[in-house]
Symmetry: C2
DNA sequence: TAGATATCTCCAGAGACTATAGGTTTGGAG
DNA sequence: CTCCAAACCTATAGTCTCTGGAGATATCTA
């Protein structure tokens, strides 16, 4: 039986975050000690590791909730599991694309500025003031 | 004199967002009509366009506040302006790097799954459960 | 058994909005 | 001029995923 602090140390998930996950229904409410403190077992540790891993991969709480629900039916086909992961992959790719465009635009703006002239002439400020100086369509 | 709705239409910033920017100190409190409605002029339009553009580039409110403050001193050197923009560019690049790692990991996980076997055997679920199946160090 | 550490619950804050409720002003048509 | 719909006002709460604090209680170690 692990205390919430033990669980925290073993998974790297902070104590308040563990309570938060319980509140959000990702972790089932833990057993309690006589003094009302949470006590965990191996399967809680595994579940929390699963959650942490999924969060590290950027999945949101509701997706994780769904994955957990699906994993409770081990004999069903995994189409929905695949869909959740694939959708997420797509959204990661979309984000990368957007950020790359930003990167280019910022690069272009910053490259015009040596940091050593008057603000009124600064290309960074002028670009922000005047969309006409931009390349793309954002 | 523009109403808040006019300003919204011209800049593409939603009405409640304009009020929010005022509250956050990005826009100076607008003049009011007799009936207490906000009335804007050209320079407010320009300021808001500046803010929108900076937000589109991903700068956060506090960075924008700083840029506005700096732009009020047009004769000072623009080193700080350059620093803000460069720092942001760096953070965008960092985000891209992180997302690319995620992309690879997700790609690898998803590629093992055809969406058509039992959940208990699904590589997606197994990967999430067992960090040992991962490539990287996240 | 005392004191230090860990835990409990509840609440607030972060960031950047967005939405709702309930009330007032404005602008155009008749 | 009057009426009504649309736009506006304020204040408040909700989004999402935590994180931190206050004040009280439990557990562990010496």
């Amino acid at each position: 039986m692990l205390s919430i602090g033990d669980l925290s140390k073993r998974t790297g998930v902070k104590v308040p975050t563990i309570r938060y996950y319980e509140q959000m229904g990702l972790l089932t409410a833990a057993e309690r000690s006589e003094g009302n403190q949470r006590r965990y077992e191996r399967h809680d540790l595994e579940r929390l590791a699963f959650i942490r891993h999924a969060r590290d991969l950027g999945l949101d709480i509701s997706a994780i909730r769904e994955l957990i629900a699906l994993s409770q039916h081990p004999h069903q086909p995994c189409g929905n599991v695949d869909r959740i992961a694939s959708d997420h992959l797509k959204s990661v790719r979309d984000k990368i694309e957007k950020l790359k465009k930003l990167e280019q635009e910022l690069e272009r703006i910053v490259s015009h500025c040596d940091g050593d002239h008057a603000i009124e002439d600064c290309y960074v400020i002028r670009s922000l003031s005047d969309h006409g100086l931009c390349d793309g369509e954002h």
